[in-house]
Symmetry: C2
Subunit: 424 residues, 2 copies
């Protein structure tokens, strides 16, 4: 060892020793820190020090200071990754569309199903009718499934209420989930999801959203962002523009369901407003991708809906790579088009169905998902200063998280530094 | 109530009362008994009596005799179904093909992967090198994933040993899994899976299977059935015929991997030997389907491999319906083409990818899967006389088992009458 390197290490030790009063130190862990875009950034045989719920040291065991205080936890060569982040869900709802699923497989058309009371409006009816307690209990079951698989942050949208009171009820339940469970919840107001049954004029409904719902919900601090569904069967770019202007006025971050079934130019519109993310994107054009690249808008890909709807047109993964648009993957957990409660399965589907690499797919549910929620300064990677949200995995390599499916290797989760073991 | 009906009920009570010394009685359960082909055969608000590990009473709560002895367990309106049966797995293996999965997604060809030491022979090398204890530990992790989702019977094939000692090692591990865990294991000898690296002549290897491996394995009572891979890239119909003749001589049941990539007439060949099942079947002809109908051979469909390989040609579900061929669904759990450990997910994929109805799909992992293993006289339905293997679900209707995916609503499993709760 060179004298210079030695003196550097000694110096580092001295410096380190002064602040190493960790609450917890994880040792003998293999780390996928995700600290650089598009890369696992692996540290074999590493350690993570935690202080006050935040990561205060990350590195190789070899580089660990000799003296430190606090509880030592042995990972026994399991892998630590950032806690997983599901950045697009509709987790809070009542009702069940299983019967509709069965009818479709028996050959019934969407029109017949809608006529017999199915479709999204059946979820709206059930969600409006449910009490806050009922909604909470239903949502908790789904949330637990995600948490058991290493999820530490989840975004939850409203959008099955479609009136002020019901939208607020959904958002309160979302906030309550964070109070009651070891998870960070980011809420998104999605009043512009579909038309409520009592409205016939889309512009009138958008006006109501902008003039009544949005101000009330903002005042109650129930939403972290605003989202809309820009699509031929939903709202037009002009209507979404109105929505975004109102969101901007209220200082809320912007997201958009865009280019799922047709190219409406939604992603470019969202980018113009510096949206955090545009989501779905099967039909996005190269111009749309370029616009997203310019604004740093994240492409949120939703393989669960693609799979359930038996879509054939994939989002243009190669274009996102070419133009350096960050890709996230999310579950889109919802009762109609993606009744899934596993983000791990979405990692696999991102690879199998969309052709993402396992490394891109893990990035897509950690650092890029954090970016899609505008919280990449606090979560999404294992780096000093970040919140100590981590998942502990019984795997041979992070590739396994994409390769296996229908299999949960999560052996524990660390939320804001606090460890809980999985007992499955 | 008519006097006749009343007297019938009274008579039944009297008869019933004489034998109702149940060990356990499950009450307030909704039942999907699967007691008739193609149907849930639902009993809302039902009960199941268990005696000596077998089902001794099934019916509505209303019809329950007034007096009975034994422990009473309240299902609290959860659903009971037959325990799930996975009738086609390669659960026992060592090694991991995650790196190969990643290479494929990075654009590497199969030839390049094989050249770099990947492919099925990498699993053969790892499985041969593993001790019995190592193989057992690896297999137990995968098994637990299935058991947590209500599986009570699982078939396990050899086929990564490809020499007598290694094939026997795999089969002993499979038997050991039944000893150590609450599950019934059916073993299948699949020496004719692929060519071992030390052989170059397929006929010579088939001769070795028939003259050495099969007699030794039969003598050791390690296999319940014999299986082969009839495919352009594996063994020819003539070679499989030799294998089947030997299997017949040794009194073993027959199964076949057939028509996965091309139509070799394998299903018809298997049917000629009254095979329990022909498996995969994406490329089966109508003549093949008719042959299966005649012999009562079950069509085992494997959506996990179809999904992982991004196949586009589906098995002809409508032809199986038309010709009354029973359809089963299995996981095909294996490290190369279906690294999955969830039979529930396969139910969903059977519907989404193959267009089966949820009712067909549940049949396919209960009564029809039992038939594919030749054990439909003892398991697969909730009927008097059957083994008391059941799964308890927190669902609103059995359709939910197909509709949700990446979600496990199993709250408990009953194996041979013995209950264990799931703690997830």
């Amino acid at each position: 060892m060179s004298p210079l390197l030695l003196s550097f290490i000694l110096e580092k030790h001295v410096t380190n020793n002064q602040k190493h009063d960790w609450d917890t130190l994880w040792v003998n862990a293999n780390l996928a820190t995700m600290a650089r875009a598009g890369s696992y950034e692996i540290i074999k045989n590493g350690a993570v020090g935690i202080k006050g719920g935040k990561i205060s040291w990350v590195g190789a065991m070899d580089a660990l200071p000799e003296t430190h205080t606090g509880e030592v936890r042995d990972a026994k060569h399991a892998w630590l990754t950032p806690g997983l982040i599901d950045c697009h869900t509709h987790l809070v709802y009542a009702g069940n569309r299983a019967e509709e699923f069965a009818l479709r497989l028996q050959g019934k058309s969407y029109a017949e199903i809608a006529k017999s009371g199915g479709g999204i409006l059946s979820t709206v009816r059930a969600t409006r009718a449910a009490t806050e307690e009922e909604l909470l209990a239903l949502s908790e079951k789904r949330l637990r499934s995600f948490l058991n698989e290493g999820v530490t942050t989840i975004e939850i949208k409203s959008g099955y209420g479609l009136d002020t009171a019901s939208e607020m009820k959904m958002l309160r339940v979302a906030r309550k989930l964070q109070e009651l469970h070891p998870v960070t919840v980011r809420t998104t107001f999605l009043g512009a999801h579909t038309m409520p049954p009592e409205f016939s004029d889309k512009d009138a409904y958008i006006d109501m959203i902008c003039n009544e719902m949005l101000p009330t919900i903002t005042k109650a601090k129930l939403a972290d962002a605003v989202d809309g569904f820009c699509e031929s069967i939903a709202f037009s770019p002009a209507q979404i523009t109105k929505l975004f202007d109102a969101a901007k006025k209220h200082g809320l971050a912007i997201k958009l369901h865009a280019e799922q079934l047709t190219d409406q130019g939604g992603a470019a519109l969202a980018s113009k407003y510096n949206a955090l993310s545009a989501d779905h994107l099967e039909y996005i054009s190269e111009a749309g991708v370029k616009a997203m690249a310019k604004s740093g808008t994240v492409a949120v890909l939703l393989p669960g809906a693609f799979y359930t709807l038996r879509e054939t047109r994939k989002p243009p993964v190669q274009l996102f790579r070419t133009h350096n648009v960050a890709m996230a993957i999310a579950s889109d957990s919802n009762p109609g088009t993606s009744p899934v409660c596993s983000l791990l399965l979405m990692i696999n589907m991102g690879c199998v169905l969309f052709g993402m690499t396992p490394e891109e797919a893990l990035c897509a549910v950690t650092r890029n998902a954090a970016k899609a929620l505008g919280i990449d300064d606090t979560v999404g990677t294992l780096e000093v200063g970040k919140v100590a949200d981590m998942a502990l995995w019984d795997i041979a390599h992070p590739v396994d998280l994409a390769y296996n499916f229908g299999y949960n290797p999560c052996i524990g989760v660390i939320n804001r530094g606090k460890f809980r073991t999985m007992k499955a």
